[in-house]
């Protein structure tokens, strides 16, 4: 008796859950309504089958439960019934499969007017490449990938010169124009997944995969990685912005091509020195950082990181959170750097400043810090030297009080909370591992031990610390 009742509860309960559930697909933002339709068909055919079988079991377990005088009927088989059920099932299966294959056919056949976009996955960020005016993407080779050529472009391929390179920033797409997405991976498997687009495809190293869709709704969408790609898998986020045609064209004009990037003159430290005068007021004449002005040490920091942060301030990705007092102070300070050349100059000048380890002010439990730092190693390096590959800045030998504050800001969402700031979001997710302020102090205290080690190494061998740490 109770079994029949419980089965009934399960069938009815599942139905009620389904109809009351607030959990369903997000509103679609691409042409793949067909996918939703196929899900819909499958869902209802399966739902009806579930309810029928469930209710049938309720009936049998209630009607034929053990009772006085009840005997089972001996009935080895019933050919007719079995055939009918087989045929009904087959019809149901065909009913699901036919629309499924129909839509799949559309999914794998790209319309000829679709424009190519290349998506490059790496641990743990997304980059993009658009063919320039010629409509072709230039040749690439994993062997060419380096700090200076993150996309592995072939510099001799004429078709690659006008390719637009968007490194670790948002991808913009024009609305209502089909795009063919070509996926490439530098290292491991990734999967480009925007829930609102429904479409999804793995990026596989050593080959190119593809899918296509047409964005149909203007908006900003979050990109997730849907294929396990290492310990940063859950932090591998990106942004896709679907624009109107005009907005898209305006955005495209601001993006640099491969040729422009290659032709960029190196920064001029002499010109940079003049611009640096403004910075020196807070960051110190030698870029050593000053606690009194809450300004961190700049000397010895990787140039790509400095560039990225200056741009983040300029674009309003950083220093906008209302609780980020010092960030908000910094934000207007980058405005005098009016163009890319000015930024490059000042970075070049900072590169000439002496890299003396910052004084140590933070104390904590080094052993606990060492074990907590385990999770940081993959990106920041076991010696805290940072890595361009993971876009993680150097932390060893930098101003430790600044690290403490930034870790706190990350953890509490004061920094890295801007929806377009995917790298900040990444650090935010990782920093949650440090449960309390004590943990932050411990880990920074451990980082301080690296800076002493680093200085010693530098004194004895005078080798480049980045070369040292990247090996691990």
């Amino acid at each position: 008796m109770i079994v029949a009742i419980m089965l009934l509860v399960i069938v009815i309960g599942s139905l009620v859950f389904n109809f009351l559930s607030p959990w369903w697909f997000t509103e679609i933002a691409s042409n793949w309504g067909g996918i939703d339709f196929a899900v819909f068909v499958t869902f209802w055919i399966c739902g009806v089958a579930f309810v029928l079988i469930g209710l049938f079991m309720v009936y049998t377990t209630w009607k034929y439960r053990r009772r006085e005088g009840l005997t089972a009927v001996y009935e080895p088989e019933n050919k007719r019934l079995e055939w009918i059920l087989t045929i009904v099932t087959t019809i149901g299966v065909v009913g699901m499969l036919a629309p499924g294959l129909w839509v799949w056919d559309a999914y794998v056949n790209v319309p000829p007017q679709a424009r190519d976009v290349e998506i490059v996955g790496q641990q743990w960020s997304w980059s993009y490449r658009l063919p320039g005016e010629d409509g072709y993407l230039g040749a690439v080779d994993a062997r060419r990938i380096s700090v200076d050529n993150p996309f592995g472009m072939d510099p001799d391929d004429p078709r690659g010169q006008d390719d637009v390179l968007i490194e670790r920033a948002a991808l913009h797409l024009p609305i209502d124009r089909p795009v063919k997405v070509l996926l490439r991976s530098k290292d491991v498997l990734h999967d480009f997944y925007v829930p609102e687009f429904r479409a999804k495809m793995d990026a596989v190293p050593g080959m190119i995969t593809y899918m296509w869709f047409t964005p149909t709704r203007v908006g900003t969408y979050e990109v997730l990685c849907a294929e396990l790609c290492g310990i940063g898998h859950h932090t591998m986020r990106g942004t896709v912005v679907v624009d109107t045609a005009e907005d898209y064209d305006a955005w495209l004009k601001t993006q640099a091509t491969f040729a422009q990037i290659s032709a960029r003159p190196e920064g001029d430290p002499v010109a940079g020195q003049i611009a640096y005068a403004v910075c020196a007021a807070c960051h110190g004449p030698a870029g050593e950082g000053m606690l009194a002005f809450n300004a961190p040490k700049l000397s010895g920091q990787d140039p790509w990181y400095l560039r990225h942060q200056i741009l983040a301030y300029r674009q309003g990705l950083r220093g906008v959170h209302e609780q980020d007092t010092y960030g908000k102070e910094m934000a207007p300070m980058v405005l005098p750097l009016i163009d890319d050349a000015a930024v490059e100059n000042v970075i070049a000048y900072i590169g000439t400043l002496p890299d003396d380890p910052a004084p140590q002010t933070v104390e904590g439990d080094i052993h606990r810090g060492a074990s907590l730092y385990g999770g940081c190693t993959v990106c920041h390096g076991s010696e805290g030297g940072g890595s361009y590959g993971t876009f993680a800045p150097r932390v060893a030998g930098m101003t430790d009080w600044y690290l403490v504050r930034q870790l706190r800001n990350f953890r509490e969402g004061i920094r890295g909370s801007h929806r377009m700031d995917n790298l900040g979001k990444q650090m935010g997710l990782m920093s949650r591992q440090l449960g309390d302020d004590e943990a932050i102090n411990d880990v920074v205290a451990y980082i301080n031990t690296m800076s002493t080690r680093m200085t010693r190494t530098a004194m004895h061998h005078t080798i480049d610390d980045r070369g040292e740490t990247d090996g691990g």
Binding site: N109, V110, A114, A139, T209
Partner: protein
């Protein structure tokens, strides 16, 4: 009963032995003579299948086994044929993306426009 199990005139083994020598020599000659392309591949496969067939049928006595055993052993490798065919198709596809998009050296100049499957 075991004594009568798989006992066959010894001459047949000599015959097959000789035949295997001939087929091996023939497949070796395919290489020596430098045949190329489909002719080479089909000859290699023909001689290979002949050799494999004789080893299984005569040396391993499959020819004299009952049909139940023959079917039980010979049918399951059909799954492997599916695997091999699909993997060949798959490899060809992977190779194509490497040539078309990853600028492998064999790529002809100029490249054809990106093809859509």
């Amino acid at each position: 009963m075991a004594e009568t199990g798989q006992q066959h005139p010894i001459s047949i083994y000599f015959w097959i032995w000789g035949l295997l020598f001939v087929f091996s020599a023939a497949s070796y000659m395919v290489d020596y003579a430098g045949f190329q392309g489909y002719l080479r591949w089909s000859l290699i496969i023909i001689f290979m299948m002949l050799k494999a067939g004789f080893i299984v049928a005569i040396f391993m006595h499959m020819r004299w086994e009952r049909v139940a055993l023959i079917t039980a052993i010979m049918l399951p490798p059909g799954a492997l044929l599916v695997l091999v065919c699909l993997m060949a198709w798959e490899s060809d596809y992977t190779w194509e993306t490497r040539i078309v998009y990853l600028g492998a050296e064999i790529a002809p100049e100029p490249l054809p426009p990106p093809s859509h499957h």
